[in-house]
């Protein structure tokens, strides 16, 4: 029977990495999401090490006795996963940078059409004459309207000026609670 009892330390490392990763993925800034994805992927890669069972010698015929070898297959799979994660990291970084170029921040934005549907719903509500104390839908619709008017997609490469960058920093500073 193969000894498959995993190392507790590895399991704990995987759990901690995954937990921190998931927390960061739920953030709104793309850079934080990116760090979250990296941590999460690395947590899963550690799971593969756990899946390989106890660590042994290098799985090379002649260097190690077959009984004492590590399982090479999970290591091969982890290598593939690491390479894929690397490519994805580069792509997400490029997207975050492009988002900063275009908007001066890298926050995940709301969908405009979703806002428009909310706007219409609010209009219908007003037509029905239901007096809502907390007029959240209406406020949302107002915001949506501003967004729709103010955010015609820029055509060229709009590089934010120094003031824009400064504004981002202050916004980020306000975000840190």
């Amino acid at each position: 029977m193969i000894d498959t009892s995993p190392s507790l330390a590895l399991v704990l490392v995987a759990a901690a990495l995954a937990a921190v990763g998931i927390y960061l993925v739920l953030e709104r800034s793309l850079t934080r999401v990116l760090i979250g994805v990296i941590l999460l992927s690395n947590g899963i890669n550690v799971v593969f090490l756990v899946a390989g069972g106890r660590a042994g010698g290098a799985p090379i015929v002649g260097a190690t006795e077959p009984e004492a070898m590590s399982d090479p297959l999970p290591q091969a799979m982890v290598l593939t996963a690491i390479v894929i994660t690397l490519g994805m990291t580069a792509f997400l970084l490029a997207m975050a940078y492009r988002s900063w170029q275009l908007h001066g921040h890298d926050e995940v934005q709301d969908d405009l059409e979703d806002r428009r549907v909310a706007q219409r719903a609010a209009a219908h509500e007003a037509a029905l004459g239901t007096e809502d104390e907390d007029s959240t839908l209406e406020q949302e619709a107002q915001e949506a309207h501003d967004d729709v008017v103010g955010s015609t997609p820029p055509e060229g490469h709009v590089r934010p000026d120094a003031g824009g960058a400064g504004r981002v920093e202050s916004a980020e500073g306000g975000d840190v609670r």
Partner: protein
Amino acid sequence: MTPTDDLSWLVPLPVVLPLAAAGLALVLWRSARAQGVISVITLTLVLAVSVTLLVAADAGPLVLDVGSWAAPVGIDLVADRLSALMLTVSAAVTLGVLVYSLAQGVADDNAETPVAIFHPTYLVLTAGVANTFLTGDLFNLFVGFEMLLVASYVLLTLGGTGARIRAGTIYVVVSMISSVIFVLAIGLVYAATGTVNLAQLTYRLPEIDPGVAFALQLLLLVAFGIKAAVFPLFAWLPDSYPTAPAPVTAVFAGLLTKVGVYAIIRTQTLLFPDGRADTLLMWVALATMVVGILGAVAQNDIKRLVSFTLVSHIGYMVFGIALASPAGLAAAIFYVVHHITVQTALFLVVGLMERRGGSTSLERLGGLARLAPLLAVLFFVPAMNLAGIPPLSGFLGKVGLVQAGVADGGALAWALVGGSVVTSLLTLYAVVKAWNKAFWQPAPDDAPRVRLPRGMVGAAASVVALGVGLAVAGGPLYGYTERAAESLRDRDAYVTAVLPDGRGTGRSAEVTEEAREDGETDVVEEGADLEGDGGTRPEGGDP
């Protein structure tokens, strides 16, 4: 290689050809014409290979060990009826979309979209789709998914405009999360069973703890469910698809969600045939159908409307899978084929409408029936097909599902039958609303005066015609899907094709032959005996 599997050398071609062509197209990035020629020739070849495989696989699964490393140590590619059918439909659709995008590129003739990137990426996408359909290995399935996903990230954010970056952010992050869940599932499958070969998993999974097996099944379902866009995991789709260029959206809508559905079919039938998730899947199917179509009814933008109908109709396929009867599976497979063509056709036609009418908002479109009668026909046919009007293929698929649901007879199955009929009616309502607003209203004064490029119309028309052809060839096609469903239920055929006598020991063919010549008798005959051989897993333990 034995003479019986003499066609198996064809099996890797749908993956290898586009990959090689992608490299070639990248080298020739200066010449858009050369790239176009390469892409068209490659995808035509892939289509020819796929049709050959479709015919050959009807006699039995074709298996190829990659690099002559025998399963379960090596990776194997398997073309059975389901794989070959999916491959053929996807090849036909990708070819049609390619011609459409070529015509669009010629018509636009501007440097706004980097066409140099489009062709290589598109070819990698088709290679990834083919790899997911053909693979007989769970980890290779993940690699196929990643190939098509990475290509789709690039295609979705083509040009890097503000709207596409916004849409791409949602799409990329959600897809990456689903990939992470899939990798986790693979790691846990390996930890529990010591293999990722699908054929070997069929007899190792029943041996492990049933609770663990169920957890693995649910993990895989979540990973594939995000890709297939089933309720409650679909919210990313209508936000991200509509912003991409029309041909890109068309191929995404046609293929990418169906790749998820294919993965669900494959794992549900091959790895987890005991049907413990069927009740859950039925609820998911019902919610997907109803919530999706209600979303479509609320939309005012035709691209988003069609995206929501896409989500909604995934529910039909999940319904067929959840029934887990041969009739249900056959109807689900037929529905997948139908839906790939009809959804691609709709998105291509919507791209033409956007071009002709200058907008995708139903408020701003109007009078297209008079301005462009041919376009009206091209929209009308797939729209009615989607809603399930007889005699089109959507009707055949829905009738098959309803029959299978009634034959099942359970309360939940009856609820699903009702739900599918209501969804069908609401689909009709949604597309008729779009038709009324875009084609019948008086044309707006500022309607642009543009001629639609003949190539784009021709490509869209050929995909629409393919959808109609599915109804014309409905009988033979339905027969094929029924046989495909049978072979899915008969897991032994798949397993013995992948792990035939002797190869299941994990030795390469030559070694096995040598062993036979030496008169060695430990060549394993029965699948169950493979367990004793240790498979891929050497002994652990500290040195």
